[in-house]
Symmetry: C2
Subunit: 384 residues, 2 copies
Amino acid sequence: MTSSTITPSSDSTFTSLQNPSFLQACMRQATDHTPVWLMRQAGRYLPEYRASRAVAGSFMGLATNRDYATEVTLQPLDRYPLDAAILFSDILTVPDAMGLGLSFALGEGPKFAHPVRDEAAVAKLEVPDMAKLQYVFDAVSSIRKALLQPDGRSRVPLIGFSGSPWTLACYMVEGAGSDDYRLVKTMLYSRPDLMHRMLAVNADSVAAYLNAQIDAGAQAVMIFDSWGGVLADGAFQEFSLAYTARVLAQLNRHGADGQVVPRLVFTKGGGLWLKDMGALDCEVLGLDWTVNLGAARALVGGAENGPGKALQGNIDPNVLFAQPQQIATEVARVLDSFGKPYQGTGTGPTHIFNLGHGISQYTPPEHVAALVEAVHSHSRQLRR
Amino acid sequence: MTSSTITPSSDSTFTSLQNPSFLQACMRQATDHTPVWLMRQAGRYLPEYRASRAVAGSFMGLATNRDYATEVTLQPLDRYPLDAAILFSDILTVPDAMGLGLSFALGEGPKFAHPVRDEAAVAKLEVPDMAKLQYVFDAVSSIRKALLQPDGRSRVPLIGFSGSPWTLACYMVEGAGSDDYRLVKTMLYSRPDLMHRMLAVNADSVAAYLNAQIDAGAQAVMIFDSWGGVLADGAFQEFSLAYTARVLAQLNRHGADGQVVPRLVFTKGGGLWLKDMGALDCEVLGLDWTVNLGAARALVGGAENGPGKALQGNIDPNVLFAQPQQIATEVARVLDSFGKPYQGTGTGPTHIFNLGHGISQYTPPEHVAALVEAVHSHSRQLRR
């Protein structure tokens, strides 16, 4: 924890926000309800998103255009009382800027034209010119403007994000998604020197990328270690966690407005390493649905006015295929498993509600409304 | 633990085996080396297997023919000094016998012609006539005969197996492999009553199936809960673990020869629930590579002459793509993480070396030789 470097009176009061609950919970401050946002909340399950994408022509057509990116980022906020916005972008923009040639074939996942599979390709890697990613930073500024309300405050905070160094390396070596990670792990086990070099470049690139998002107006930043969970115990600490830590060490702690910028880390499948992750210099740890929130709170949630992490997560997105009443039951179960969030005037254990993974494209939009409503109402009850 | 029901002098001495090390380690008895076998050790990475399959015409052509199944089961034993054989079969034979119509399209995974997706389909499910699975029991008897040596003893023990009730349900509802388990989880969250009925039928079917394998000569039985790890905390205990326990409660404890039959349970991705699994009435818990063996031993490995589980696992199969010297280093790391196995004359913490998942079809066969050699030599050193 770096709480010693934060002056709550000047930079973590979040007075510039109409709804600061997400940022407050990130900083382990009390809120009157458990804030909620959803990974991939701007996405294909929304008909208005599909309409925008049809006009833009493609996913990257949306992501690389400031106006489209702004439009789709705000779509879920117009439907649901979500407590945060997240930049509409992709985790693979950074390796694309490195020259790997990202494309999205229709109905398939991302693909790189030039995967990194040998010593020569690794040697050529370097931190990309951030000017190549200007479209991302422009989107951040544009979304911030769109979130600004007539009273001069922002509706909700905007989260910036990046893939973790290891997760980027998975795609860079495999050249696409994978179900066995054979190529990237072959490099890891047979040429750890190459893997370490790639991860160092990735970490420094991600840090520069997130800092530029912060400078452009991102009010929190999240590192998605989507594939950290495929590593073996030992390899996770050496090849994923260490490089996430290298990113965190380089991040700006405050935005241009002087406010503290919370840092969130989410390792899908990383529940077994929660204690290791508790030592990261960040404010929030994301959790998937395999983790018991109460156990996680006991391990890394911290005590009142002591160090600790805010916890984010962790309902199974497939719960959204049940009926609204059943969704409410499962939401209550997740909220209850965390227990009563901190309600004092200092800092203590807090919970940010989210899915344990991105929302499915097949999700009925009205079920998302039921989930958000259940989080807000049950979490208010929980505080009584 | 049911150690109170076992009479070591009569039924867990394993004198009918030339190499009883696997069964001894299952029963937490001392061995002079750490026994090793590999999940999917009879498989596509072996040229002799590919030749047999070409003759048989297909995977199921091998599995349903007693002579082919015997031939391919023994192939890896003829190449490597493995400490156990495992029946060549598939985890989906049971739902196939239920009438779901299993097929394997070339280059694709398994597929069911009649997936179970509604109330009517669930209502029709029942424990299949085991006569439909006679080909499996015939293969078990035939393999046992082929393992018999001129001195009247068996070379190594034969492991029988089945998918877990939950894992079978995943395939039965999805109709094939899945990467989001949307259909099966939709049923779980929206119609838990249907899911419970399906799991009950599956559990009773798996128990009957494994008992018939035991009667045919299987000397240990393993339950593969390959997809237990995709469940949420809470759902795992209710929909996977409880039905694995229902299987275990029905299993014969002794073979026709009066020897005890150890029961192994492996939940891929189940490391977070190890303590819950420690309460299962079985002898061995399998672990994937995300789990630290030393931590698992402390949690469920038990003390000398006290209750506890033998542990099986857990190297990442992708290690086999590194060079032999690097494979040896990783093998030593895994063995060392477990620590010194029990060496007394009673029972204590023991380790069975295995992969954390099935071996990849792309594995160089000579690398498997390096792994087995490293396990045997380093584990002997570890006991000095």
